[in-house]
């Protein structure tokens, strides 16, 4: 018996069903499934899930994130990826060879990097890795933060939304799964991209988001 309708807003502790079919954002006590977050219910044949309205980023293995180096140690970098704690990037997990004690020649405090969460330990400590051609040090320093729960809207179906923004503004954009978005381009292009991203952050529930973003970008372009 499922107690809720699809797309209903629920608060924590709402009884969702008694069929042990809870998925993301739910917890069960006995057979009963309760909501864990304040968020929207999604019901399908596989079960009930709740997607929260606001969320906090906790690293998971395989996430591709954007982080800021806060410290270069003798054998590892300490990176802030917007999780509750800092994570480490070992000097063996990068594409280039490093000598002990001179890591800040390659990446120093304040640099942005695009990396992958390699391992997450039981106590939620995590290690990053930059092995592979995909990952690199980001050349400029412009980032915007978006709530991780809104990232699907920012990216859109098969990347439709993000490629629209890229096309319209001629910016390079990388979206980290921790909600950090890196933007590179000319100053006015960046400003346009940021306004679009902030618009999505505020209006993520709007069903015709793509059209409104297209219109917004057109208006911004005409002004400049």
């Amino acid at each position: 018996m499922i107690n809720v309708k699809n797309f209903e807003m629920v608060t924590p502790g709402t009884l969702l069903s008694d069929e042990e079919n809870g998925r993301n954002g739910t917890y069960s006590e006995g057979k009963n499934v309760y909501s864990k977050y304040f968020g929207m219910v999604q019901v399908n044949e596989r079960g009930v899930s709740v997607s929260p309205v606001t969320s906090n980023y906790f690293p998971e293995e395989g996430d591709e994130v954007i982080g800021r180096v806060v410290e270069a140690g003798s054998k590892y970098w300490v990176v802030d990826i917007d999780a509750p704690y800092l994570v480490r990037l070992d000097n063996r997990d990068v594409n280039f060879r490093t000598e002990m004690g001179e890591l800040d020649r390659f990446m120093s405090r304040g640099d942005l990097i695009f990396a992958r969460v390699a391992t997450v330990y039981v106590n939620n400590a995590a290690d990053l890795s930059m092995k592979g051609t995909k990952y690199f040090k980001l050349p400029s320093n412009m980032i915007v933060k978006v709530d991780p729960t809104k990232l699907p809207r920012l990216i859109g179906k098969e990347g439709a939304m993000i490629s629209l923004i890229k096309q319209e503004t001629n910016c390079d954009i990388i979206v980290g799964q921790n909600g950090v978005v890196w933007i590179d381009g000319k100053d006015e292009d960046r400003a346009a991209a940021i306004s679009a991203i902030e618009f999505i952050d505020e209006n993520y529930f709007n069903p015709e988001l793509t059209d409104s973003v297209r219109e917004l970008l057109k208006n911004v372009r005409e002004k400049t």
């Binding site: 864990k36 304040f38 309205v53």
Partner: protein, 233 residues
């Protein structure tokens, strides 16, 4: 005998309430809760790294609540800073909230909850707890349930709900104040304090009365949280 309440309310009637979320833009989540002349504002920050480091738990998160009464909240000026009463209430709020939040899902992190009482007219710890739980839900923390807290009492042979300061001070009638906090959908009590004198059976009735009030507050909390989303749309 206490047959008619000082402010002409029914014995099972709450003072007019108001709830709102998202009042502190810089916080991760925030809420304001007003009941009668009592008002509390709560702000939630985190989860973030634990500081001081020795409080860190390797298998679960910790929660730190700070309750503070602002100087202008009471008729006599309250001294700024934490006094003994503030520390006690901070502790009972922390205990109640750590039953409501699923801390085991965020090991090694800390959640900071700050509660400020802007107006006090009895029942501040209940109002604070209610505001704090709404703020936690607003911040997107994994929770078992919201907390609904209300003070019930026993004055001169009758069970009352949501006492005011004037009623609490009816010492000649043997006024007893019982703040209770529930996890409403779990039917669990997370806070129960008693200030005064009351018999066994009467206490059971007081708790029953508190539960009726808590359910009403729970409905208001849910409505306030939902309104936050519909406002945005």
């Amino acid at each position: 005998m206490y047959e008619k309440r000082l402010d002409n309310r029914g014995f099972d009637e709450l003072r007019p309430m108001e709830a709102e979320t998202g009042v502190v833009p810089n916080a991760k989540g925030s809420a304001r809760f007003r009941i009668g002349n009592t008002e509390a504002i709560a702000a939630v920050y985190g989860p973030e790294e634990v500081k001081p480091k020795h409080f860190e738990k390797f298998d679960r998160g910790i929660i730190m609540c700070k309750y503070d009464m602002l100087p202008f909240s009471v008729p006599d000026r309250a001294k700024p800073g934490f006094d003994r009463r503030d520390t006690e209430i901070s502790q009972v709020i922390t205990n109640a909230l750590s039953r409501a939040i699923r801390l085991e899902e965020m090991p090694r992190s800390m959640i900071t909850v700050r509660v400020y009482v802007t107006q006090a007219d009895a029942g501040t710890r209940c109002a604070s707890l209610t505001a704090a739980s709404m703020a936690c839900a607003d911040a997107g923390l994994p929770m078992r349930d919201l907390v609904a807290a209300v003070a019930a009492g026993y004055i001169g042979g009758s069970v009352c709900l949501d006492l005011t300061k004037d009623e609490e001070d009816l010492h000649d009638e043997g006024a007893t104040d019982v703040p209770i906090a529930f996890l409403p959908s779990k039917d669990e009590i997370v806070l129960l304090q008693l200030d005064g004198k009351v018999g066994h059976e009467e206490l059971n009735e007081v708790i029953k009365m508190g539960k009726i009030g808590a359910m009403k507050i729970y409905e208001l909390e849910k409505e306030a949280l939902r309104r936050r989303v519909s406002n945005e749309s």
